[in-house]
C-alpha cells in the first residue's frame, strides 16, 4: 500500500489546471508520466534531492488510470482529495447542480462503516 503516494498524485494534479485537463483526457499517459517523473519529487526540496523509492501498487495504478474513484475510496485514498479532483474532472459533464456529487455518492453507496482506513 502506498496511500501516501496516491494522495500525492491527487494533490499535485488537482492544484495544476493543465494537469487536471491532461489527466481527464489521457489518464493512462498522465499516470505513467507522473509515476516516472513526479512521484519521487519532495515538494519542498530541490529537484536533485528527490526520493528514490516511491511507486504505486498495481491496484493503485489501475484505479488512477481508470478514473476509478470507488476503487480509490476502497484503497483508503483521502476522500477529500479524491472528491475535490474528481469534481474538477467531471462535474462539467452533469447538467444538474451537484449532479456529479450525488452520482459519486451513489456509486460508492455499497460502502458501510467502518470505511477503509485513510491514515498514512
Amino acid at each position: 500500500m502506498s496511500k501516501y503516494l496516491v494522495n500525492k498524485f491527487l494533490y499535485t494534479v488537482d492544484r495544476d489546471p493543465a494537469l487536471v485537463e491532461r489527466y481527464r483526457t489521457d489518464p493512462a499517459g498522465t499516470v505513467t508520466w507522473w509515476e516516472t517523473e513526479q512521484a519521487n519529487r519532495i515538494l519542498n526540496c530541490a529537484d536533485g534531492e528527490s526520493s528514490t523509492w516511491q511507486r504505486f501498487t498495481s491496484a493503485e495504478r489501475a484505479a488512477l488510470t481508470g478514473h476509478d474513484y470507488p476503487a480509490l475510496f476502497e484503497l483508503g485514498a483521502h476522500p477529500f482529495l479524491t472528491l475535490t479532483l474528481f469534481i474538477a474532472l467531471f462535474e462539467r459533464d452533469y447538467a444538474e447542480p451537484l449532479g456529479f456529487q450525488r452520482d459519486y455518492a451513489r456509486r460508492i453507496g455499497h460502502m458501510s462503516l467502518p470505511y477503509p482506513d485513510i491514515a498514512t
Binding site: 494522495n7 519542498n44 476522500p79 477529500f80 475535490t84 451537484l98 455518492a105 470505511y115
Partner: protein, 287 residues
C-alpha cells in the same frame, strides 16, 4: 492586558459566498434566509467592537501536506494571502489579503510553547476557506488584523478531542495575558456532521441530524464534560467521515469556558450539512 470581547464558533460553508452573491435564476431558494441569518450573526461580532481577530481553522491540504504535517500551527506574519486555485474553481471564493497581528502571534507561540503546546509556526501562510469563509460572513470589510491558528482535523493521526479543548482553554488564557490594551475576538470554524467523498455526501440534510442536535446542545450550553463523554476520535466516524472538523468547535468550547452558555445561537438546516452559529460575550453582553 488584552480583553477577549467575543468568542464565536461557526460552520464554514464554502458555498455561502456564491449563494449570497448569486442573482436571478442562479440564486438558490435558500439564499435569502441564509443571508438574513448571517447578517444577524455578523452583528454579534460588530457589537463587540474588536481590534484583533484570532482565527481558528484548518488547512484542507492546501499549503500543509503529508510530508510535513503539523498538529497545531500558528501563523506569524505581517500579511496572509488567500485563497487557493481549487477553492476559486469549486466555490468561487475571492482572493484576499489580510493583515497579521504579528506581536500577538509571537506571544501565543512563546507562551504556548511554555504552556506545553509544541506549536508549529509559519512565517508565510496562505489561508484557505476555513478562515476566509468567516471573514466573508462576519467581517467582509476585512479591516482587522488576524492571528491564524490551524488545527489538524484532517490527516490522521489526529490529536484527541480533549487536546482541542485544552488548546482552546490555553488560547483564552494566553490572550488575556497579552500585554496590549486591545479588544480581541476569537473566531473558530468547523463542522457538525459532515461527509465528503463518501456515500452519505450531499444529501438533503447533514448526514446525522441527531448528532447535530446533540452538538448544538453541547456547544450552546458549554457542556464540555458531556461532549467529551461521548466524542472520541473513533466515534466521530459515525456521524460522517469529515466530522472530525467538529473538534474545532471543541476548541471554541474551551475558549468560551466550562459551563458557559452561548449568548447567541442560531442554526440553518441546509442540504449537505447544518449551519450553526454561536457567540459568547465573556463578560456578559457586548460592551
Amino acid at each position: 492586558m488584552a480583553d477577549v470581547v467575543a468568542v464565536i464558533a461557526s460552520t464554514h460553508h464554502p458555498f455561502y459566498y456564491s449563494a449570497s452573491t448569486a442573482t436571478g435564476a442562479d440564486r438558490p431558494p435558500f439564499a435569502d434566509e441564509w443571508v438574513r441569518k448571517v447578517l444577524a450573526f455578523r452583528e454579534t461580532l460588530t457589537a463587540a467592537r474588536p481590534d484583533v481577530l484570532v482565527m481558528i481553522g484548518s488547512d484542507h491540504f492546501h499549503q500543509l501536506w503529508l510530508d510535513n504535517m503539523p498538529q497545531f500551527l500558528i501563523g506569524k506574519a505581517p500579511y496572509y494571502d488567500a485563497t487557493f486555485h481549487n477553492e476559486e474553481r469549486e466555490f468561487g471564493l475571492p482572493r484576499m489579503l489580510l493583515r497579521g497581528q504579528e506581536d500577538l502571534s509571537a506571544h501565543l507561540l512563546r507562551d504556548g510553547l511554555d504552556a506545553g503546546f509544541d506549536l508549529a509556526f509559519s512565517n508565510e501562510l496562505r489561508i484557505d476557506h476555513s478562515i476566509i469563509c468567516p471573514i466573508l460572513t462576519l467581517r467582509p470589510q476585512n479591516d482587522l488584523p488576524i492571528v491564524p491558528i490551524y488545527t489538524n482535523i484532517f490527516a490522521p493521526p489526529l490529536p484527541r478531542p480533549q487536546r482541542f479543548v485544552q488548546l482552546g482553554r490555553t488560547v483564552r488564557r494566553l490572550i488575556e495575558s497579552w500585554p496590549a490594551d486591545l479588544r480581541v475576538a476569537v473566531i473558530g470554524t468547523g463542522h457538525l456532521s459532515l461527509e465528503l467523498g463518501g456515500p452519505r455526501q450531499f444529501g438533503p440534510h447533514g448526514p446525522d441530524p441527531e448528532f447535530d442536535r446533540k452538538a448544538v446542545e453541547w456547544i450552546s450550553s458549554g457542556d464540555i464534560e458531556g461532549c467529551l463523554g461521548e466524542v472520541t476520535l473513533d466515534s466521530l466516524h459515525a456521524p460522517g467521515n469529515a466530522t472530525h472538523g467538529f473538534m474545532d468547535f471543541m476548541v471554541m468550547m474551551g475558549v468560551a469556558g466550562d459551563g458557559q452558555k452561548a449568548d447567541y445561537v442560531d442554526t440553518y438546516d441546509l442540504f449537505h450539512t447544518m449551519e450553526a452559529y454561536f457567540t459568547w460575550y465573556p463578560r456578559g453582553g457586548a460592551r
